[in-house]
């Protein structure tokens, strides 16, 4: 019997953290992760900027298989999620972000402005999604057929 894989959703949003507005993306991502068999109980909402790096490092100590961030990938001055993520990645997966941006471009040209990274830190897959619910939905559709294989590879259990 194998333990249930864990995943963390990290919402980067100053307005959501202060309670000024209810984040729409976390429930969507959590539901998607649950559908893929992940336990998502260790999820966080933090303000944009430095707190995102602090939260990522804290979550990595818990060794989840997946961390999906949402928000802070744009060009506002406190949009620093990519800067907070990049130093933690041991291996980058630019092809994943390329696919996510391509999928997003079908909906909006703004998808080209998302600066997020995807990659791995230890046995954890980290991916930066945009904050908009539509951008999240497009990205999850891209991840849908590959998330299981990513986790299999990180766990070293090649089933072939």
């Amino acid at each position: 019997m194998t333990a249930r894989r864990t995943a963390s959703v990290l919402i980067a949003s100053t307005r959501a953290a202060t309670g000024a507005y209810e984040d729409q993306s976390a429930p969507v991502i959590s539901k998607w992760l649950t559908g893929h068999g992940f336990d998502t109980s260790q999820s966080l909402v933090v303000p944009d900027g430095e707190p995102v790096g602090a939260a990522l490092r804290a979550l990595l100590l818990l060794d989840p298989r997946v961390i999906i961030t949402s928000g802070g990938t744009g060009l506002s001055h406190d949009d620093l999620t990519p800067e907070m993520t990049r130093p933690l990645l041991e291996r980058k997966l630019p092809g994943v972000m390329q696919a996510i941006r391509s999928a997003g471009l079908a909906d909006t040209p703004y998808a080209a402005l998302s600066r997020g990274y995807a990659g791995t830190a230890g046995r954890t897959f980290i991916v930066n999604l945009p904050g908009s619910p539509r951008g999240v939905a497009d990205a999850l559709a891209v991840l849908d057929p590959i998330i299981g294989h990513i986790c299999d590879q990180l766990e070293g259990s090649h089933g072939h």
Binding site: S8, V9, I11, A16, A17, T18, G19, A26, P27, S30, S41, Q42, S43, L44, V45, V46, P47, E50, P51, G53, A54, A55, R57, A58, L59, L61, L62
Partner: protein, 156 residues
Amino acid sequence: MGTETGTETGAAAEAGPGVVVFAGISADPIDTAAAWAAVETAATGAVVTFGGIVRDHDGGRGVTRLGYSAHPSAGRRMGELAAEVAARHPGTRLWAAHRIGELAVGDHALVAAAASAHRGEAFEACRDLVEAIKHGIPVWKEQHFSDGGSEWVGSA
């Protein structure tokens, strides 16, 4: 807290992510009312706050004032610790600030607040937050005694 026992509709909020509203170092006096207001939302059934206060004695000697110094990494470390606490307590909203600089007897050195749908989680999260910060951040204090002496000690 009056509505706490009658609020059973917050199940969705309880299962939601832990929230770090703020965690950091402050060179200015900390506003405890602001901490409370920052963690409370319409889904809140209980708020627990903590104040670590400069007292007038330590180890049998009279204390007149304290000087707190923090390593430059202290704010970042506080964010990490608060995130760990939030991950351990889903559905809670956390706020914490540690003061640095010169403090007088009665001043707040550490203020923490935790909000949750129910009181149990708010109490546990606030205590967890305070203990994590007290034991985990690189902050030191110089105690000035009423007999004229002084000594450096860890923040706890």
